[in-house]
């Protein structure tokens, strides 16, 4: 029972990380209609900037703003220099250009920092684990990630639904031309939204640093999962990204944790483990297929 609970927490933690990435991706797609493959690069930039700041200063408190600033600025620069020229083009052009950006960023990071992964220590205050239930100790840092992720979700909800900027964002997603006709500077709005998405990706990256290895190509590993989240949740919907991310995080973790064990009880032989591993890594894609079959536009259709 505690094992199940622990795996649920693991799933939740993975889910909020996915949410931070998916929120930006879905906003950018929903509002600007741009497929941004380079979103994972912003995650990498956040992680690298934070890792380097932490290494130079020895303080995680400096690393956080450094990671956020680097990712946010890189995102806005990306929008201003490249993405802005792609709004009117079709998706294939966008995919090509943003794919080129992935190559560009990966190579730049390789040139600057080399291929060996960087190491970030967990801030001392968050090191160790606490017993949240008897027999269930859980790393404090992962709990902190869950807390930050949920706080960001609430913050985004308030921002989108309760503020003037949020109103413009929502309006921009559905009636772009009307918003422009009313005299809103849509270009500025787009840059701001892109920067916000980049900021969230950077936040995910800098939080991932102390757990995972900070390395070139780390963004692409998680990007595919992020796209699955966006598709399951419904393209353009923040709420969809949130629930989609939690569903994908929990389902993926639980399948990985328990499916091989269940299969081992059904069939014997060494293939059970390999089969279990294969099936569990297919799990979220099967889930995506089923969701698309039942609700072709995803679980939460933007602004429906």
């Amino acid at each position: 029972m505690t094992l199940l609970l622990e795996q649920l927490l693991n799933g939740l933690q993975f889910g909020v990380m996915l949410f931070l990435l998916a929120a930006g991706l879905t906003l950018i797609f929903g509002i600007m209609g741009v497929i941004n493959l380079a979103h994972g690069s912003l995650y990498m930039i956040g992680a690298y900037a934070a890792a380097i700041a932490a290494e130079r200063t020895g303080s995680f408190l400096v690393a956080v703003p450094a990671g956020l600033a680097a990712a946010g600025l890189a995102g806005m620069a990306m929008e201003y220099l490249v993405i802005r020229r792609l709004y009117a083009r079709d998706h294939l052009d966008q995919v090509l250009a943003t794919f080129a950006l992935i190559l560009f960023f990966n190579q730049t990071v390789t040139l600057l920092f080399g291929r060996q992964p960087l190491f970030v220590s967990i801030p001392p205050a968050l090191n160790g684990s606490i017993e949240i239930l008897p027999e269930l100790a859980y790393p404090v840092y992962r709990l902190a990630i869950i807390a930050v992720g949920l706080a960001v979700a609430v913050g985004l909800y308030l921002l989108i639904n309760r503020t003037r900027i949020g109103m413009l964002v929502r309006a921009g997603a559905t009636h772009r031309d009307m918003v422009r006709a009313l005299g809103v500077d849509v270009r500025l709005l787009y840059t701001a939204v892109f920067g916000l998405g980049a900021l969230l990706a950077g936040l995910a990256g800098l939080m991932a640093g102390p757990i995972l290895a900070v390395q070139v190509g780390m963004g692409e590993q998680i990007l595919i999962m992020t796209f699955v989240v966006v598709v399951i949740g419904g393209v353009g919907s923040i709420r969809g990204a949130f629930f989609g991310a939690l569903i994908v995080g929990v389902v993926d973790t639980l399948l990985r944790a328990f499916l091989p064990g269940l299969l081992r009880q059904l069939t014997t032989g060494p293939e059970a483990d390999a089969l279990g591993a294969g099936l569990s890594s297919m799990g979220i894609y099967l889930l995506m297929a089923v969701v698309l079959l039942v609700r072709p536009k995803g679980l939460f259709i933007a602004n429906a």
């Binding site: 390789t110 291929r115 992964p117 390395q215 190509g217 590993q221 990985r256 483990d273 390999a274 591993a277």
Partner: protein
């Protein structure tokens, strides 16, 4: 008629020229230089280059040209590069592949087209047994051997219940099969992770629930760093000891993981502290050239270059007669940095395996050689190979 004789004359003058004296021998290096596994390929490449530089652009007295291409850990890309190098550049000698899945897609094309492949790392089980090939040589080890040594090491250390994990691909399966072949205790859990997985929280929970004597895991490169750090973060370091094979604990991993690695038992065919003249020469040259810790990938890249050098010296740099070149390679007439080295019947190494332990040397963590696990150890598939 006239045209034909002209051609013949041309061909004859071509043959009369001392072949290889002017045109360097092309060596195609397909390796992984990007992504989390990028530093592995980088070390193989840099060590290979080092051997060439130490001979002023030659190997075995023959000028060589090294063509390096990045496979990005994509099997399809490795295959394409090999095709291109063979067709467009006429490359007949290949090396460099780090990962078994890339090797699986690329090596058959190379050896079936009559070119030679000398592996500095990946050596999946399927190429070691029935499908062994005259043009295929392995300098590193057969995949299983790495993990057989870890299994024997765990048995030697007296562990009874093991939890084992590896990524779900050929080398991962070879790893667990190899470990189980020599581990005499009970396997209480066997988990296959994803090759692109970096978060192992779910696996940590399973390990804690199974409460084994020892954990064996195979996660090369960045994966291993993530695994070990999360092992520490989950509070398992110090509670459940770990036995590893060389790929999961190289010097880069060690530096990145830090204190969490203290006391970990490792098995390897090579270590930086091995006391033999070839290794001293290599380590000195490496430090001078690159000033970073050498991984065992580097040692293998260097050994591969030395082996190729020995064959080029014997054949005078000619690759036209592949059989003669193969025979020269098979002699393994070079001083390996790991000490004793010879080829078994399937052209995979027969070598010694050492027990290493992570210890503190001053305030630095080092991998220290503490004993021998196997001497003259070949692999389990050699018998099935009929060359």
């Amino acid at each position: 008629m006239k045209f034909k004789s002209l051609l013949l004359a041309l061909a004859m003058t071509g043959a009369a020229l001392p072949a290889g004296a002017e045109t360097p021998v092309k060596i195609g290096m397909i390796t992984t230089l990007s992504g989390p596994g990028g530093y592995l390929g980088q070390d193989i490449r840099d060590a290979f280059k080092l051997a060439i530089d130490m001979e002023d652009g030659k190997l075995g007295g023959v000028p060589v040209e090294l063509i390096v291409e990045d496979d990005s850990l994509k099997p399809g890309q490795g295959k394409q590069i090999a095709d291109r190098l063979m067709k467009n550049d006429g490359v007949k000698l290949f090396t460099g592949i780090v990962f078994s899945n890339v090797a699986g897609a690329t090596v058959p094309d190379i050896v079936d087209s009559g070119a030679v492949y000398v592996s500095p790392n990946a050596a999946p089980s399927n190429f070691a047994g029935k499908e062994c090939h005259r043009n295929y040589f392995v300098v590193s080890w057969q995949n299983d051997s790495l993990h057989e040594s870890a299994g024997q090491n765990a048995t030697n250390l007296g562990y009874k219940r093991a939890f084992i994990l590896a990524p779900n691909y050929q080398a991962g399966k070879d790893a667990l099969a190899g470990f189980k072949r020599y581990f005499k205790g009970e396997i209480v859990g066997e988990v296959y992770t994803r090759l692109d997985q970096t978060d192992f929280a779910a696996e940590m929970a399973q390990i804690r629930a199974a409460d084994p004597d020892v954990v064996f895991q195979f996660h090369p490169g960045g994966l291993g760093i993530a695994f070990l750090r999360q092992y520490q973060q989950a509070g398992l370091t110090g509670k459940i000891p770990m036995v590893l094979a060389a790929p999961s604990m190289d010097h880069v991993t060690l530096n990145a993981v830090g204190e969490a690695a203290l006391g970990v038992n490792v098995s390897s065919h090579w270590n930086a502290d091995l006391d033999n003249p070839a290794n001293k020469t290599f380590m000195d040259a490496w430090q001078k050239a690159y000033n970073r810790p050498a991984t065992y990938y580097a040692s293998q890249g260097y050994d591969t270059a030395l082996l190729i050098a020995s064959a080029l010296r014997q054949t005078g740099g000619k690759l036209d007669d592949i059989e003669a070149f193969n025979a020269a390679l098979a002699k393994a007439d070079f001083q390996s940095v790991r000490g004793a080295f010879k080829f078994g019947p399937n052209q995979h190494p027969v070598q010694d395996w050492r027990a290493l332990r992570v210890e503190k040397d001053g305030d630095k963590l080092v991998l220290k050689t503490v004993g021998t696990i196997f001497t003259d150890h070949g692999d389990a598939y050699a018998e099935q190979c009929k060359l």
